[in-house]
Amino acid sequence: MSLRRVVVTGLGALTPVGKTAPAYWEGLVAGRSGAAPITRFDAGKFKTRFACEVKDYNPDDYFDRKEGRKMDIFTQFGLIAANEAIEDARLNEEGIDKDRVGVIWGSGIGGLTSLQAECIAFANGDGTPRFNPFFIPKMIADSSSGNISIRHKFRGPNFVTTSACASSSDSIISAFNYIRLNMADVIVTGGSEAAITESGVGGFNALKAMSERNDAPEQASRPYDKERDGFVLGEGAAALVLEEYEHAKARGAKIYAELIGGGMSADAYHITAPDPEGNGVVLVMQNALRDAGIKPEEVDYINTHGTSTPLGDGAEVKAIQKVFGEHAYDLNISSTKSMTGHLLGAAGAIEAVACIMAMQHDMVPPTINHFTDDPELDPKLNFTFNEAQRREVNIAMSNTFGFGGHNTSVIFRKVSE
């Protein structure tokens, strides 16, 4: 059986730098930071008091009150981005067989807001269990894919992948595989995360993973800068409609790009620390290149995981140099987390959208907040510092890595006949 080709026919995004896919892209090219003091709760006593929130988010702008109340904020984010992508791809038009449309979503954490609220309410009570009947369905990570399918009556494969910050890259690869294997014709994929809560911020602070640059939030996420001190927590969602190529062509769908390869690997090293040699990261990029059937020299742009942590950034760069050799110097490399912050389980999805937009516009979004060169990093590499760079982008790769040692890499190409 030959594998079927898979293309992208719809995009949606709800991010800290723009609340639709076009607005998100505009924010990236402008080099806009989404970081600001936390508004969701009183962070006065926290080590980190800023984050990349979705700005001025009000669920009433998107949902009637009864509907919004039954979804955790991470599911609300997911449904908003999915709705945009579904409309963009015109999936609700007649003639689409919804038995052949699936939803494979990614979330690293799920409904943390709901979990926290219910546990606090119980702890404050007299021991009588008064858990809300919507608590479990709001909290579980798969409520995102479930709600998207219910809203649009998509009856194909439906589940959520969870692999921390690689979650939505894994959902994209799963969707890719299900379509390639003829188990569905169209899959709405992507991811969403909303962990800017007391427990989310406090938990990541305890891991010493987050930047504590409270005096300059907008400059805190600075991948590849010598003074980087950790990631900046972000939130939001992005969605991609993946579709079998002939199916898309037959209905005259707009085709953004082709998804040509995906790779997965594990560090098998430590539950939170990256392997300093980057062995798992080398393996994942090699796996993705092999699946795509391309040579390393064909890649134009890598949207890196690059979270702005001291250890992780260096290990990934080392791995890129191992895999790409001399071609590493011809690549554009950038970490858009410098602007969006780290959306955890939604990172792979928003960065896949960034890669596709980069090909659409032949423009590489920047790594902002570069002030001081890191002597540990090869100065001949092009990190696309501070300003977007115009460049023909025919093939783009997106890397994401998650706590647990999960590594995922996906490769998109401009569509050829």
Binding site: D64, R65, K66, E67, R69, R130, N132, P133, F134, P137
Partner: protein
């Protein structure tokens, strides 16, 4: 309308997202006000909390309309 009836109506309007004019004594939570099984569980819990009562499951099953909720609570509320 009694104070209890006013509170019951307010809870129903809030939880089910319906208009006050729809919340008539005869209105059924599921048939008229769009509630599903989880909504009705949540309503009963809200009544228990607001009126400081414990409504056993076998009695909760008999509370299917606005009027039935009001009369049950007028009888049992502390």
């Amino acid at each position: 309308m009694s104070e209890i009836a006013e509170k019951v109506k307010a809870i129903i309007i809030d939880k089910l997202g319906v208009e006050a004019s729809e919340v008539t004594p005869e209105a059924s939570f599921t048939n008229d006000l769009g509630a599903d099984s989880l909504d009705t569980v949540e309503l009963i819990m809200e009544f228990e909390k607001e009126f400081n009562v414990s409504i056993p499951d076998d009695q909760a099953e008999n509370i299917g309309t606005v009027g039935q909720a009001i009369s049950y609570l007028e009888e049992h509320a502390k």
